[in-house]
């Protein structure tokens, strides 16, 4: 068993309305000193076997085809 984390964020050129809404709300709540906030998704994928190259390639394919929409999103993989 191993856990692979897939982080998915909107591409920088796409307006991140959620992140912006949070950034706008912060000063109202008394938080200052934040330059920007971006919001994305985080997936924890538990795989049955070890996180070897073959398994990671599989998860990468999964991220490309399903977990992220590469038209608008970037993703990164890491083993935890």
């Amino acid at each position: 068993m191993a856990r692979v984390i897939v982080d998915v964020m909107l591409k920088p050129e796409i307006l991140d309305a959620q992140g912006q809404a949070i950034a706008r709300a912060l000063p109202r709540l008394g938080f200052t000193g934040v330059a920007s906030v971006r919001q994305g998704k985080r997936f924890e994928v538990e795989i049955d076997g070890p996180a070897d190259d073959a398994a990671l390639a599989e998860v990468r394919k999964m991220a490309e085809t399903l977990l992220a929409n590469t038209v608008i999103e970037d993703f990164t993989l890491r083993v935890e």
């Binding site: 909107l10 050129e13 796409i14 307006l15 309305a17 959620q18 809404a21 399903l66 977990l67 929409n69 038209v71 608008i72």
Partner: protein, 226 residues
């Protein structure tokens, strides 16, 4: 009633499939229910992907539906010229399937919004819009939470240059769509994706009017003339 048969796909979580079928019937064609798990288009002449939240839209609107068995038949058929209309969730599925460019993301104001929306029909050459007159202004409900159309700059300018924006929001842009885009078509004009819901504007009794009906009569005309 014409003999044209228009398929309406039901995915788990589809909601406006009955409405789409009703619109097809009011346009005097026959509505054929298609099931997500059945990889067979049953010889239909055109297909509608209805609104709703397929698979709950839990991952991303349309992301999981794209892989349904029926889509494995539909995608090549659409590429080969079958008229396909994706409404709302259907539009999202078409983008996820790369039958249409761009993507639909969370509304700029982060709320689901349901409004009677003014639109301008910009392209009347598609399979689904020929019964409108160019530039016609119509009122059709929009209702979505992830309806903001986005595409990269190159795609956007290509869409504009080729006149592939099918309809545009007038007045208030309900979701922050780029260039006020409410709908787009593929190069061939057979595949159309639309965020507004023409199937909710087909009867005086239940809609803000009947401005949506021509989407359904257009395709019929095309099929009868074909």
């Amino acid at each position: 009633m014409s003999t044209a048969r228009v398929g309406v796909i039901t995915f788990p979580g589809s909601l406006d499939d009955r409405d789409a079928a009703r619109a097809v019937r009011l346009a005097e064609a026959r509505a054929v229910p298609l099931w997500h798990a059945d990889p067979d288009l049953h010889g239909v002449d055109a297909v509608i992907l209805p609104g709703g939240f397929s698979y709950g839209d839990y991952l991303r609107a349309g992301a999981i539906a794209r892989f349904a068995p029926v889509m494995q038949e539909l995608i090549p058929a659409a590429r080969a010229g079958l008229p396909v209309l994706g409404i709302c969730n259907g539009f999202q599925v078409l983008c996820e399937s790369h039958l249409l460019p761009g993507a639909l993301i969370r509304n700029e104001n982060l709320h689901f919004g349901c409004h009677d929306q003014r639109l301008r029909v910009e392209n009347t050459e598609t399979a689904w819009t020929s019964e409108y007159s160019p530039g016609q202004e119509v009122v059709i409900p929009v209702k979505n939470g992830e309806g903001r159309y986005v595409a990269d700059a190159a795609t956007l300018s290509e869409l504009e240059r080729e006149g592939r924006v099918v309809a545009r929001y007038l007045g208030v842009n309900p979701n922050g769509s780029m260039n006020d885009i409410a709908g787009v078509t593929n190069e061939a004009g057979n595949v159309v994706g639309l965020m507004p819901h023409p199937e909710h504007a087909i009867e005086e009794l239940t809609g803000p009017g009947t401005d949506g009906l021509p989407f359904f009569t257009s395709v019929l005309k095309r099929l009868v003339n074909a």
